[in-house]
């Protein structure tokens, strides 16, 4: 392996500074891990007792602060559907952009650099600005114009809805998919492409039949990361589709929806009696964390497997 990593500490002169410095940076690392552990322990410890099948499968009445009759089924369905619709938009666009950037784009051209800069910028736009954008563009511009186009007397498209929340989130998570897919495409050995071309395959055939199947795990990782990121986001959906309470489950793309993350916000800030709400609050957070973390763990697992494979190929 690398000589740096195999240097034996004991043969080096012992220095107090070295000990201190390693200890200090090590301590910082431990502290960060401790923060993570504290959050997870707190949520699991306090939330586990309330979590039950009844809790995740019940549609709550208007007063969802009551710990006996409440449930989070509409929130789980709302979050799942907005994330699912988002995936339909973000995956094709993100993957195709990544294909362009890795397989077609001349690395030095201005347009490539602008696309890359735009992707990086998109990743840094504050989530609340996405919320404003979703309201200003999707709801008030696209939606309202669709209503005019179809001669709807009342607002059908021109109001907050699942479709607009999903599209807003799709714009937000585009960089996640692009970056992950690019990484996956780059990990496909160049030799495979050349072999395909040498056998008479066209560039497009090579990409579709050779490169993409090889990169599939990495692309999936990107999709999963985007889903997990979007599932926990609240700010972008505040004005684009989320509802405080709905008696029934959403039926159409133009319906509003209840949402797990937003529900956590509502439970922790609007409760008339926080002591009484705390158990269901913790349980709701636990459900949200299980969803996002399970997805994250899967993504991390696929990714580290992929990196190992990539190292052995090169």
């Amino acid at each position: 392996m690398n000589p740096v990593n195999t240097i034996d500490f004991r043969t080096k002169k012992f220095r107090a500074g070295s000990f201190f410095f390693t200890g200090l940076t090590g301590l910082a690392t431990v502290l960060i891990l401790a923060i993570l552990a504290t959050i997870l322990t707190d949520v699991v410890y306090n939330g586990w007792g309330t979590l039950s099948w009844h809790f995740v499968s019940t549609i709550p009445k208007k007063d969802f602060f009551d710990s006996k009759t409440t449930g989070v089924l509409p929130m789980i369905i709302g979050t799942a559907s907005r994330v699912f619709v988002m995936t339909l938009f973000v995956l094709p666009i993100g993957v195709i952009t990544a294909i362009y950037l890795t397989e077609y784009a001349p690395n030095t051209s201005i347009i490539t650099r602008i696309i890359r800069a735009a992707v990086n910028n998109l990743a840094g736009v504050p989530s609340i600005v996405f919320g404003l954008f979703g309201l200003g563009f999707f709801v008030n511009f696209v939606g309202k114009n669709l209503d005019v186009l179809f001669h709807h007397p009342t607002a059908v498209w021109g109001q907050p809805a699942i479709i607009w929340a999903s599209l807003t989130l799709a714009v937000m998570t585009m960089p996640v998919v692009i970056v992950a897919t690019e990484e996956a495409l780059k990990a496909v050995p160049q030799g495979l492409r050349e072999a395909s071309l040498a056998l008479g395959g066209t560039k497009l055939q090579t990409i579709i039949k050779i490169v993409l199947p090889q990169a599939l795990p990495g692309i999936l990782t990107g999709g999963i990361l985007a889903v997990s990121r979007a599932a926990g986001e609240v700010a972008p959906i505040l004005f684009t589709g989320v509802a405080y309470y709905m008696a029934s489950l959403p039926q159409h793309l133009t319906d509003q929806f209840m949402d797990l993350g937003y529900h956590v916000f509502v439970l922790s800030t609007q409760s008339p009696n926080i002591q009484q709400t705390e158990p269901i609050l913790y349980a709701t957070v636990l459900v949200l964390l299980i969803l996002t973390f399970a997805l994250n763990l899967v993504a991390i697992f696929i990714r580290s497997n992929m990196r190992r494979k990539m190292r052995s190929l090169h």
Partner: protein
């Protein structure tokens, strides 16, 4: 990377290539649309077309025919189609109601002020009832006051607290993971720290609100339970993974032979890390901090839940604070669509977009240059 060998030009192939290129322009289009549509809603305010004054100057009914039609339409608050279909007498009637309405207007000398002019947005003003000029954000009151300085200060305050807390930790961990930890340990620590970024911000906000606020209050003994300090620390949780991964990336991209040369000359591992690798990667560390700043100032749910949301001008970190992001999140739903308040919220949103756009550009530029330099391209 990519395929460099030639291939037969196929019409289908050519079409697909163009299609792929067009789709890849989506990212550029989106950045443009975000900028365009967030500023679009704020535009009438920037150009000074609208007035928020509770009492508008009254035009005598006799002057009705002397002023231009467009000005009359705005004065009567009519849409162009309404204005066009309305006959002269109805307009005259409206003029008279205006004059009558002005007589019952609130008896307050501030009522004539257009509070959305730039000077009221940015500079202190002595409102009636106050004994000195003040900065006030008070969008729901008889005289609506939209001075953005208190919430800008609130944003900067919480962001700085977050940076002071998160940067040392994240940098320390980045140095440890990239330079000092064994490769095996690194393989476990890195994903674990990255998992912190998988915690949704609403969960970090919840944790700060329910758990941390009480604990920190017991430790520090301050007065208001929710304040800039609690929000700042929780905000720190959100930016630790950002600063960590960029700094770690920068430190790792310093070529191995830098370290090896230092070690060969008798330096200890930490001397090599501190005196050779860190200075070489310094621009990257700077970029990490800048991008962390951008992330922190744009974070919404954490500050909305943990900062207490009082828009007061205060330098004390243990006072409640209201940030730009929390203001938008909390107030937009109640603001009248197309009203002054609504437009102001889009204006500060556009401001926020601009700030993060610039920090992003700066951060990316520095990282790009650094990598180019370290890889010997320049």
């Amino acid at each position: 990377m990519g395929i460099r060998r030639g291939h037969r030009a196929h019409p289908g192939e050519w079409l697909a290539e163009k299609f792929i290129f067009l789709v890849s322009l989506t990212a550029i289009l989106m950045v443009f649309l975000i900028f365009a549509f967030v500023t679009r809603e704020a535009l009438p305010l920037i150009t000074g077309e609208v007035s928020s004054a509770a009492v508008q100057p009254v035009i005598p009914v006799a002057d009705m025919d002397k002023i231009p039609a467009e000005k009359l339409r705005i004065y009567l608050e009519l849409t162009p189609s309404q204005f066009a279909t309305m006959d002269h007498d109805t307009k005259k009637l409206l003029m008279e109601t205006k004059v009558e309405g002005a007589q019952d207007a609130p008896d307050n000398k501030d009522a004539k002020i257009n509070t959305i002019e730039w000077r009221y947005l940015l500079f202190p003003y002595q409102w009636s009832g106050y004994d000195k000029p003040v900065y006030i954000w008070q969008p729901v009151s008889e005289i609506k006051k939209y001075n953005i300085i208190p919430i800008v200060i609130g944003s900067i305050k919480t962001t700085l607290i977050a940076l002071f807390f998160a940067v040392p930790l994240a940098l320390g961990a980045a140095i440890y993971v990239s330079q000092l930890a064994s490769p095996k340990l690194k393989e476990y620590i890195k994903p674990a720290i990255e998992m912190l970024s998988g915690i949704p911000s609403v969960v970090a906000g919840f944790f700060a609100l329910i758990f941390m606020a009480t604990v920190l209050q017991k430790v520090f003994g301050y007065e208001s339970r929710l304040n800039a300090f609690v929000a700042g620390i929780a905000l720190g949780f959100a930016i630790i993974p950002v600063v960590f991964s960029i700094a770690e990336d920068a430190l790792t991209s310093v070529p191995r032979n830098f370290t090896q040369a230092a070690l060969a000359l008798g330096a200890s591992r930490w001397q090599a890390a501190w005196q050779v690798v860190l200075p070489a990667a310094l621009p990257g560390v700077f970029a990490a901090i800048v991008l962390g700043f951008g992330r922190a100032i744009g974070e919404t749910m954490i500050v909305l839940m943990a900062s207490g949301n009082a828009s007061i001008m205060s330098g004390n970190i243990f006072d409640s604070a209201r940030t730009i992001t929390a203001t938008i999140a909390a107030e937009l739903a109640e603001a009248v669509f197309g009203g002054d308040h609504y437009r102001i919220l889009f204006l500060i949103g556009a401001l926020l977009f601009l700030v993060t756009f610039l920090t992003n550009m700066a951060g990316e530029l520095v990282m790009h240059r650094l990598k180019g330099k370290l890889e010997g391209k320049k």
